[in-house]
Symmetry: C2
Subunit: 219 residues, 2 copies
Amino acid sequence: MTNPLSGTERTRHRRLREQGRTDRDDLVAVLAAGLVAHLGVVRDGWPMVVPTSYGFDDTTLYLHGSVASVSLRAESPVCVTITLADGLVLARSVFEHAVNYRSAMIYGYPRIVADRGELLHGLRSLSEHMAPGQWDYVRRPSRKELAATRLLALPLAEASVKIRTGPPDDGDSPDAGLGLWAGELPLATTWQQPVPDPALPPGIAVPPHIAARAGTPAS
Amino acid sequence: MTNPLSGTERTRHRRLREQGRTDRDDLVAVLAAGLVAHLGVVRDGWPMVVPTSYGFDDTTLYLHGSVASVSLRAESPVCVTITLADGLVLARSVFEHAVNYRSAMIYGYPRIVADRGELLHGLRSLSEHMAPGQWDYVRRPSRKELAATRLLALPLAEASVKIRTGPPDDGDSPDAGLGLWAGELPLATTWQQPVPDPALPPGIAVPPHIAARAGTPAS
Protein backbone atom coordinates (compact mmCIF):
# COMPACT_ATOMS: atom_id res chain seq x y z
CA MET A 1 0.00 0.00 0.00
CA THR A 2 2.95 2.30 -0.53
CA ASN A 3 1.51 3.82 -3.65
CA PRO A 4 -2.25 3.41 -3.76
CA LEU A 5 -4.30 3.73 -6.92
CA SER A 6 -7.06 6.30 -6.96
CA GLY A 7 -10.37 4.82 -5.85
CA THR A 8 -13.70 5.71 -7.36
CA GLU A 9 -17.15 4.20 -7.06
CA ARG A 10 -16.74 2.00 -10.14
CA THR A 11 -13.24 0.77 -9.30
CA ARG A 12 -14.13 -0.07 -5.70
CA HIS A 13 -14.17 -3.83 -5.28
CA ARG A 14 -17.81 -4.43 -4.57
CA ARG A 15 -17.70 -8.13 -5.23
CA LEU A 16 -14.84 -10.58 -4.82
CA ARG A 17 -13.36 -8.17 -2.32
CA GLU A 18 -10.60 -10.55 -1.39
CA GLN A 19 -9.26 -10.34 -4.92
CA GLY A 20 -9.04 -6.56 -5.20
CA ARG A 21 -5.64 -4.89 -5.14
CA THR A 22 -5.09 -1.21 -4.65
CA ASP A 23 -1.34 -0.86 -5.03
CA ARG A 24 0.22 0.64 -8.13
CA ASP A 25 2.87 -2.10 -8.14
CA ASP A 26 0.11 -4.66 -8.80
CA LEU A 27 -1.10 -2.59 -11.75
CA VAL A 28 2.42 -2.35 -13.18
CA ALA A 29 2.90 -6.11 -12.75
CA VAL A 30 -0.26 -6.89 -14.75
CA LEU A 31 0.66 -4.37 -17.46
CA ALA A 32 4.16 -5.85 -17.69
CA ALA A 33 2.87 -9.42 -17.96
CA GLY A 34 0.13 -8.75 -20.55
CA LEU A 35 0.57 -8.57 -24.29
CA VAL A 36 -2.82 -7.53 -25.67
CA ALA A 37 -5.26 -5.04 -24.16
CA HIS A 38 -8.99 -4.89 -24.79
CA LEU A 39 -9.96 -1.29 -25.48
CA GLY A 40 -13.62 -0.46 -24.90
CA VAL A 41 -15.21 2.58 -26.49
CA VAL A 42 -18.80 3.71 -27.01
CA ARG A 43 -19.95 4.24 -30.58
CA ASP A 44 -23.51 5.27 -31.39
CA GLY A 45 -24.59 4.07 -27.94
CA TRP A 46 -23.01 0.63 -28.43
CA PRO A 47 -19.94 -0.69 -26.68
CA MET A 48 -17.07 -1.72 -28.97
CA VAL A 49 -14.23 -3.85 -27.61
CA VAL A 50 -11.07 -3.96 -29.72
CA PRO A 51 -7.90 -5.94 -29.03
CA THR A 52 -4.80 -3.82 -29.31
CA SER A 53 -1.13 -3.81 -28.39
CA TYR A 54 0.15 -1.38 -25.77
CA GLY A 55 3.11 -0.01 -23.88
CA PHE A 56 3.38 2.12 -20.77
CA ASP A 57 5.57 4.31 -18.60
CA ASP A 58 5.12 5.49 -14.99
CA THR A 59 2.11 7.66 -15.72
CA THR A 60 0.68 6.74 -19.12
CA LEU A 61 -0.68 3.77 -21.08
CA TYR A 62 0.02 3.98 -24.82
CA LEU A 63 -2.29 2.11 -27.19
CA HIS A 64 -2.14 1.44 -30.89
CA GLY A 65 -5.24 3.34 -31.91
CA SER A 66 -5.52 2.41 -35.57
CA VAL A 67 -8.86 0.63 -35.44
CA ALA A 68 -10.44 2.23 -32.41
CA SER A 69 -9.46 5.80 -33.22
CA VAL A 70 -11.92 5.67 -36.10
CA SER A 71 -14.56 5.66 -33.38
CA LEU A 72 -12.86 8.01 -30.96
CA ARG A 73 -13.89 11.61 -30.93
CA ALA A 74 -12.37 14.17 -28.62
CA GLU A 75 -13.18 13.49 -25.00
CA SER A 76 -14.49 9.98 -25.63
CA PRO A 77 -14.27 7.91 -22.45
CA VAL A 78 -12.60 4.51 -22.67
CA CYS A 79 -12.11 1.44 -20.52
CA VAL A 80 -9.01 -0.63 -21.14
CA THR A 81 -8.85 -4.14 -19.68
CA ILE A 82 -5.83 -6.43 -19.64
CA THR A 83 -6.39 -10.01 -18.49
CA LEU A 84 -4.06 -12.95 -17.96
CA ALA A 85 -5.68 -16.36 -17.49
CA ASP A 86 -3.43 -18.38 -15.17
CA GLY A 87 -5.43 -21.58 -14.87
CA LEU A 88 -8.66 -23.32 -13.97
CA VAL A 89 -9.90 -23.74 -10.42
CA LEU A 90 -11.42 -27.21 -10.32
CA ALA A 91 -13.81 -27.54 -7.40
CA ARG A 92 -16.05 -30.34 -6.07
CA SER A 93 -19.16 -28.66 -7.52
CA VAL A 94 -19.90 -26.89 -10.80
CA PHE A 95 -20.91 -23.82 -8.82
CA GLU A 96 -17.50 -23.34 -7.18
CA HIS A 97 -15.45 -23.61 -10.38
CA ALA A 98 -13.43 -20.51 -11.16
CA VAL A 99 -10.51 -19.14 -13.13
CA ASN A 100 -7.21 -18.01 -11.64
CA TYR A 101 -6.38 -14.73 -13.33
CA ARG A 102 -4.80 -11.32 -13.11
CA SER A 103 -6.73 -8.39 -14.53
CA ALA A 104 -6.33 -4.63 -14.72
CA MET A 105 -9.05 -2.18 -15.74
CA ILE A 106 -8.21 1.43 -16.53
CA TYR A 107 -10.77 4.17 -17.11
CA GLY A 108 -10.16 7.59 -18.59
CA TYR A 109 -10.19 10.03 -21.48
CA PRO A 110 -7.39 9.24 -23.92
CA ARG A 111 -5.49 11.80 -25.95
CA ILE A 112 -4.40 11.16 -29.52
CA VAL A 113 -0.64 11.76 -29.31
CA ALA A 114 0.32 14.63 -31.62
CA ASP A 115 3.74 15.72 -30.36
CA ARG A 116 6.52 14.03 -32.35
CA GLY A 117 8.70 13.53 -29.28
CA GLU A 118 5.90 11.89 -27.30
CA LEU A 119 4.97 9.78 -30.32
CA LEU A 120 8.50 8.37 -30.45
CA HIS A 121 8.51 7.89 -26.66
CA GLY A 122 5.15 6.09 -26.74
CA LEU A 123 6.05 3.91 -29.70
CA ARG A 124 9.31 3.00 -28.01
CA SER A 125 7.48 1.98 -24.81
CA LEU A 126 5.15 -0.15 -26.93
CA SER A 127 7.99 -1.71 -28.91
CA GLU A 128 10.09 -2.44 -25.82
CA HIS A 129 7.07 -3.93 -24.02
CA MET A 130 6.20 -6.24 -26.90
CA ALA A 131 9.66 -7.16 -28.16
CA PRO A 132 12.48 -5.88 -25.93
CA GLY A 133 15.58 -5.06 -27.96
CA GLN A 134 13.84 -4.53 -31.29
CA TRP A 135 13.79 -0.72 -31.00
CA ASP A 136 17.57 -0.61 -31.14
CA TYR A 137 17.82 -3.41 -33.74
CA VAL A 138 15.36 -2.47 -36.50
CA ARG A 139 14.78 0.68 -38.55
CA ARG A 140 13.06 3.42 -36.53
CA PRO A 141 9.93 5.17 -37.82
CA SER A 142 10.36 7.68 -40.63
CA ARG A 143 8.64 11.07 -40.59
CA LYS A 144 6.04 9.71 -43.00
CA GLU A 145 5.42 6.62 -40.86
CA LEU A 146 5.06 8.75 -37.73
CA ALA A 147 2.47 10.87 -39.50
CA ALA A 148 0.53 7.69 -40.31
CA THR A 149 0.70 6.36 -36.73
CA ARG A 150 -2.26 6.78 -34.41
CA LEU A 151 -1.22 6.40 -30.79
CA LEU A 152 -3.54 6.92 -27.83
CA ALA A 153 -2.28 8.09 -24.44
CA LEU A 154 -4.35 7.21 -21.38
CA PRO A 155 -3.41 8.37 -17.85
CA LEU A 156 -2.69 5.49 -15.44
CA ALA A 157 -4.86 7.21 -12.85
CA GLU A 158 -8.25 5.57 -12.35
CA ALA A 159 -7.52 1.87 -12.25
CA SER A 160 -8.59 -1.38 -10.65
CA VAL A 161 -6.64 -4.63 -10.32
CA LYS A 162 -8.08 -8.04 -9.48
CA ILE A 163 -6.12 -11.21 -8.92
CA ARG A 164 -7.29 -14.72 -8.06
CA THR A 165 -4.80 -17.39 -7.10
CA GLY A 166 -4.89 -20.68 -5.28
CA PRO A 167 -7.15 -23.69 -4.82
CA PRO A 168 -10.96 -23.81 -4.90
CA ASP A 169 -12.94 -22.39 -1.98
CA ASP A 170 -14.85 -25.57 -1.14
CA GLY A 171 -12.07 -27.49 0.65
CA ASP A 172 -13.84 -27.02 4.00
CA SER A 173 -17.41 -27.33 2.69
CA PRO A 174 -19.68 -30.40 2.94
CA ASP A 175 -18.68 -31.15 -0.68
CA ALA A 176 -15.17 -32.02 0.55
CA GLY A 177 -16.70 -35.29 1.74
CA LEU A 178 -17.70 -36.33 -1.78
CA GLY A 179 -14.32 -37.97 -2.36
CA LEU A 180 -13.69 -36.00 -5.55
CA TRP A 181 -10.35 -34.69 -6.74
CA ALA A 182 -10.05 -30.90 -6.66
CA GLY A 183 -7.27 -28.44 -7.37
CA GLU A 184 -5.83 -26.22 -10.04
CA LEU A 185 -5.01 -26.82 -13.69
CA PRO A 186 -2.42 -24.14 -14.42
CA LEU A 187 -1.88 -22.54 -17.80
CA ALA A 188 1.53 -21.43 -19.03
CA THR A 189 2.19 -19.12 -21.97
CA THR A 190 5.67 -19.52 -23.38
CA TRP A 191 7.68 -17.96 -26.21
CA GLN A 192 8.57 -20.55 -28.81
CA GLN A 193 11.55 -20.87 -31.16
CA PRO A 194 11.69 -17.99 -33.66
CA VAL A 195 10.48 -18.77 -37.19
CA PRO A 196 12.47 -16.99 -39.92
CA ASP A 197 10.61 -15.05 -42.61
CA PRO A 198 10.74 -17.24 -45.76
CA ALA A 199 11.82 -14.09 -47.62
CA LEU A 200 14.98 -13.85 -45.49
CA PRO A 201 18.24 -14.37 -47.43
CA PRO A 202 20.54 -17.07 -46.03
CA GLY A 203 23.19 -16.20 -43.48
CA ILE A 204 21.28 -13.77 -41.24
CA ALA A 205 21.39 -15.09 -37.67
CA VAL A 206 18.59 -14.67 -35.13
CA PRO A 207 19.74 -11.74 -32.96
CA PRO A 208 20.55 -12.62 -29.32
CA HIS A 209 17.65 -10.56 -27.86
CA ILE A 210 15.18 -12.70 -29.85
CA ALA A 211 16.96 -16.03 -29.42
CA ALA A 212 17.15 -15.53 -25.64
CA ARG A 213 13.39 -15.22 -25.38
CA ALA A 214 12.53 -18.68 -26.75
CA GLY A 215 11.44 -20.99 -23.95
CA THR A 216 10.81 -18.18 -21.46
CA PRO A 217 7.39 -17.42 -19.94
CA ALA A 218 5.42 -14.75 -21.76
CA SER A 219 3.25 -13.74 -18.84
CA MET B 1 -18.01 -19.56 -47.29
CA THR B 2 -20.54 -22.30 -46.77
CA ASN B 3 -22.15 -20.64 -43.79
CA PRO B 4 -21.57 -16.88 -43.85
CA LEU B 5 -21.98 -14.67 -40.81
CA SER B 6 -24.37 -11.77 -41.06
CA GLY B 7 -22.64 -8.62 -42.22
CA THR B 8 -23.44 -5.14 -40.96
CA GLU B 9 -21.68 -1.80 -41.35
CA ARG B 10 -19.66 -2.19 -38.15
CA THR B 11 -18.61 -5.79 -38.73
CA ARG B 12 -17.56 -5.14 -42.32
CA HIS B 13 -13.77 -5.35 -42.51
CA ARG B 14 -12.94 -1.80 -43.41
CA ARG B 15 -9.28 -2.07 -42.53
CA LEU B 16 -6.96 -5.05 -42.65
CA ARG B 17 -9.31 -6.55 -45.20
CA GLU B 18 -7.07 -9.48 -45.83
CA GLN B 19 -7.55 -10.61 -42.26
CA GLY B 20 -11.33 -10.61 -42.18
CA ARG B 21 -13.20 -13.89 -42.15
CA THR B 22 -16.87 -14.27 -42.80
CA ASP B 23 -17.44 -17.97 -42.27
CA ARG B 24 -19.19 -19.28 -39.21
CA ASP B 25 -16.63 -22.08 -38.89
CA ASP B 26 -13.95 -19.44 -38.23
CA LEU B 27 -16.10 -17.96 -35.46
CA VAL B 28 -16.62 -21.36 -33.87
CA ALA B 29 -12.88 -22.10 -34.07
CA VAL B 30 -12.02 -18.88 -32.19
CA LEU B 31 -14.73 -19.52 -29.58
CA ALA B 32 -13.47 -23.08 -29.10
CA ALA B 33 -9.84 -21.96 -28.69
CA GLY B 34 -10.49 -19.06 -26.29
CA LEU B 35 -10.90 -19.29 -22.54
CA VAL B 36 -11.79 -15.78 -21.39
CA ALA B 37 -14.05 -13.29 -23.17
CA HIS B 38 -14.02 -9.53 -22.72
CA LEU B 39 -17.59 -8.32 -22.27
CA GLY B 40 -18.17 -4.66 -23.10
CA VAL B 41 -21.20 -2.81 -21.75
CA VAL B 42 -22.14 0.86 -21.49
CA ARG B 43 -22.77 2.23 -18.02
CA ASP B 44 -23.64 5.89 -17.44
CA GLY B 45 -22.19 6.71 -20.86
CA TRP B 46 -18.88 4.97 -20.12
CA PRO B 47 -17.64 1.73 -21.64
CA MET B 48 -16.92 -1.04 -19.16
CA VAL B 49 -14.90 -4.09 -20.25
CA VAL B 50 -15.08 -7.13 -17.96
CA PRO B 51 -13.25 -10.45 -18.39
CA THR B 52 -15.57 -13.41 -18.07
CA SER B 53 -15.74 -17.11 -18.81
CA TYR B 54 -18.11 -18.40 -21.48
CA GLY B 55 -19.56 -21.36 -23.27
CA PHE B 56 -21.52 -21.69 -26.49
CA ASP B 57 -23.72 -23.85 -28.66
CA ASP B 58 -24.69 -23.54 -32.34
CA THR B 59 -26.71 -20.38 -31.88
CA THR B 60 -25.88 -18.82 -28.53
CA LEU B 61 -22.95 -17.53 -26.48
CA TYR B 62 -23.40 -18.02 -22.72
CA LEU B 63 -21.52 -15.69 -20.37
CA HIS B 64 -21.03 -15.66 -16.65
CA GLY B 65 -22.77 -12.41 -15.87
CA SER B 66 -21.99 -11.97 -12.20
CA VAL B 67 -20.03 -8.73 -12.39
CA ALA B 68 -21.38 -7.27 -15.59
CA SER B 69 -25.04 -8.02 -14.91
CA VAL B 70 -24.91 -5.38 -12.20
CA SER B 71 -24.61 -2.93 -15.07
CA LEU B 72 -26.95 -4.64 -17.49
CA ARG B 73 -30.49 -3.41 -17.81
CA ALA B 74 -33.01 -4.94 -20.14
CA GLU B 75 -32.09 -4.32 -23.76
CA SER B 76 -28.57 -3.16 -22.99
CA PRO B 77 -26.34 -3.67 -26.03
CA VAL B 78 -23.07 -5.52 -25.53
CA CYS B 79 -19.93 -6.29 -27.49
CA VAL B 80 -18.07 -9.48 -26.60
CA THR B 81 -14.51 -9.90 -27.86
CA ILE B 82 -12.40 -13.04 -27.62
CA THR B 83 -8.75 -12.74 -28.61
CA LEU B 84 -5.93 -15.25 -28.86
CA ALA B 85 -2.41 -13.86 -29.22
CA ASP B 86 -0.41 -16.34 -31.31
CA GLY B 87 2.91 -14.54 -31.53
CA LEU B 88 4.87 -11.49 -32.52
CA VAL B 89 5.56 -10.47 -36.10
CA LEU B 90 9.12 -9.14 -36.09
CA ALA B 91 9.73 -6.94 -39.12
CA ARG B 92 12.71 -4.93 -40.40
CA SER B 93 11.16 -1.67 -39.21
CA VAL B 94 9.27 -0.65 -36.07
CA PHE B 95 6.37 0.43 -38.26
CA GLU B 96 5.79 -3.04 -39.75
CA HIS B 97 5.75 -4.92 -36.44
CA ALA B 98 2.51 -6.70 -35.71
CA VAL B 99 0.86 -9.43 -33.67
CA ASN B 100 -0.37 -12.74 -35.04
CA TYR B 101 -3.77 -13.29 -33.49
CA ARG B 102 -7.25 -14.69 -33.81
CA SER B 103 -10.14 -12.54 -32.65
CA ALA B 104 -13.92 -12.70 -32.65
CA MET B 105 -16.25 -9.81 -31.91
CA ILE B 106 -19.94 -10.40 -31.26
CA TYR B 107 -22.55 -7.65 -30.96
CA GLY B 108 -26.06 -8.00 -29.64
CA TYR B 109 -28.65 -7.67 -26.92
CA PRO B 110 -28.17 -10.38 -24.29
CA ARG B 111 -30.92 -12.01 -22.30
CA ILE B 112 -30.53 -12.96 -18.65
CA VAL B 113 -31.35 -16.68 -18.71
CA ALA B 114 -34.39 -17.34 -16.54
CA ASP B 115 -35.60 -20.76 -17.67
CA ARG B 116 -34.19 -23.52 -15.45
CA GLY B 117 -33.65 -25.89 -18.38
CA GLU B 118 -31.75 -23.29 -20.40
CA LEU B 119 -29.76 -22.33 -17.31
CA LEU B 120 -28.55 -25.92 -16.94
CA HIS B 121 -27.89 -26.16 -20.68
CA GLY B 122 -25.91 -22.91 -20.68
CA LEU B 123 -23.93 -23.78 -17.56
CA ARG B 124 -23.11 -27.15 -19.03
CA SER B 125 -21.84 -25.56 -22.26
CA LEU B 126 -19.69 -23.24 -20.16
CA SER B 127 -18.40 -26.04 -17.95
CA GLU B 128 -17.63 -28.34 -20.89
CA HIS B 129 -15.88 -25.53 -22.75
CA MET B 130 -13.67 -24.63 -19.79
CA ALA B 131 -13.03 -28.06 -18.32
CA PRO B 132 -14.34 -30.92 -20.47
CA GLY B 133 -15.46 -33.85 -18.32
CA GLN B 134 -16.05 -31.91 -15.12
CA TRP B 135 -19.82 -31.65 -15.63
CA ASP B 136 -20.17 -35.41 -15.31
CA TYR B 137 -17.53 -35.69 -12.55
CA VAL B 138 -18.48 -33.05 -9.97
CA ARG B 139 -21.69 -32.19 -8.13
CA ARG B 140 -24.21 -30.43 -10.36
CA PRO B 141 -25.83 -27.15 -9.35
CA SER B 142 -28.51 -27.28 -6.65
CA ARG B 143 -31.77 -25.38 -6.95
CA LYS B 144 -30.40 -22.72 -4.61
CA GLU B 145 -27.16 -22.41 -6.61
CA LEU B 146 -29.10 -22.09 -9.86
CA ALA B 147 -31.15 -19.29 -8.34
CA ALA B 148 -27.89 -17.50 -7.44
CA THR B 149 -26.42 -17.91 -10.95
CA ARG B 150 -26.54 -15.06 -13.43
CA LEU B 151 -26.04 -16.32 -16.96
CA LEU B 152 -26.27 -14.14 -20.06
CA ALA B 153 -27.33 -15.51 -23.45
CA LEU B 154 -26.17 -13.65 -26.55
CA PRO B 155 -27.20 -14.73 -30.07
CA LEU B 156 -24.27 -15.72 -32.30
CA ALA B 157 -25.70 -13.61 -35.08
CA GLU B 158 -23.84 -10.35 -35.68
CA ALA B 159 -20.19 -11.28 -35.52
CA SER B 160 -16.81 -10.49 -37.01
CA VAL B 161 -13.67 -12.62 -37.06
CA LYS B 162 -10.15 -11.42 -37.77
CA ILE B 163 -7.07 -13.58 -38.07
CA ARG B 164 -3.48 -12.66 -38.80
CA THR B 165 -0.91 -15.36 -39.47
CA GLY B 166 2.47 -15.56 -41.14
CA PRO B 167 5.63 -13.49 -41.56
CA PRO B 168 5.98 -9.71 -41.67
CA ASP B 169 4.83 -7.80 -44.75
CA ASP B 170 8.15 -6.12 -45.54
CA GLY B 171 9.99 -9.09 -47.06
CA ASP B 172 9.81 -7.49 -50.52
CA SER B 173 10.24 -3.89 -49.39
CA PRO B 174 13.45 -1.81 -49.60
CA ASP B 175 13.96 -2.66 -45.88
CA ALA B 176 14.67 -6.26 -46.89
CA GLY B 177 18.08 -4.99 -48.00
CA LEU B 178 19.01 -3.85 -44.46
CA GLY B 179 20.40 -7.29 -43.64
CA LEU B 180 18.24 -7.62 -40.51
CA TRP B 181 16.68 -10.81 -39.22
CA ALA B 182 12.89 -10.92 -39.49
CA GLY B 183 10.25 -13.51 -38.76
CA GLU B 184 7.80 -14.68 -36.13
CA LEU B 185 8.19 -15.33 -32.43
CA PRO B 186 5.32 -17.71 -31.70
CA LEU B 187 3.51 -17.98 -28.38
CA ALA B 188 2.15 -21.26 -27.04
CA THR B 189 -0.34 -21.62 -24.21
CA THR B 190 -0.22 -25.04 -22.60
CA TRP B 191 -2.04 -26.80 -19.77
CA GLN B 192 0.36 -27.70 -16.98
CA GLN B 193 0.39 -30.56 -14.47
CA PRO B 194 -2.63 -30.41 -12.13
CA VAL B 195 -1.95 -29.06 -8.62
CA PRO B 196 -4.00 -30.81 -5.90
CA ASP B 197 -5.97 -28.69 -3.43
CA PRO B 198 -3.94 -28.77 -0.16
CA ALA B 199 -7.24 -29.58 1.58
CA LEU B 200 -7.54 -32.83 -0.41
CA PRO B 201 -7.34 -36.00 1.70
CA PRO B 202 -4.71 -38.51 0.57
CA GLY B 203 -5.61 -41.25 -1.89
CA ILE B 204 -7.79 -39.31 -4.35
CA ALA B 205 -6.31 -39.70 -7.82
CA VAL B 206 -6.42 -37.02 -10.50
CA PRO B 207 -9.30 -38.12 -12.77
CA PRO B 208 -8.29 -39.14 -16.32
CA HIS B 209 -10.09 -36.24 -18.03
CA ILE B 210 -7.91 -33.79 -16.04
CA ALA B 211 -4.67 -35.77 -16.20
CA ALA B 212 -4.99 -36.14 -19.97
CA ARG B 213 -5.07 -32.38 -20.46
CA ALA B 214 -1.63 -31.66 -18.95
CA GLY B 215 0.88 -30.83 -21.65
CA THR B 216 -1.74 -30.19 -24.33
CA PRO B 217 -2.23 -26.83 -26.07
CA ALA B 218 -4.87 -24.60 -24.48
CA SER B 219 -5.59 -22.54 -27.57
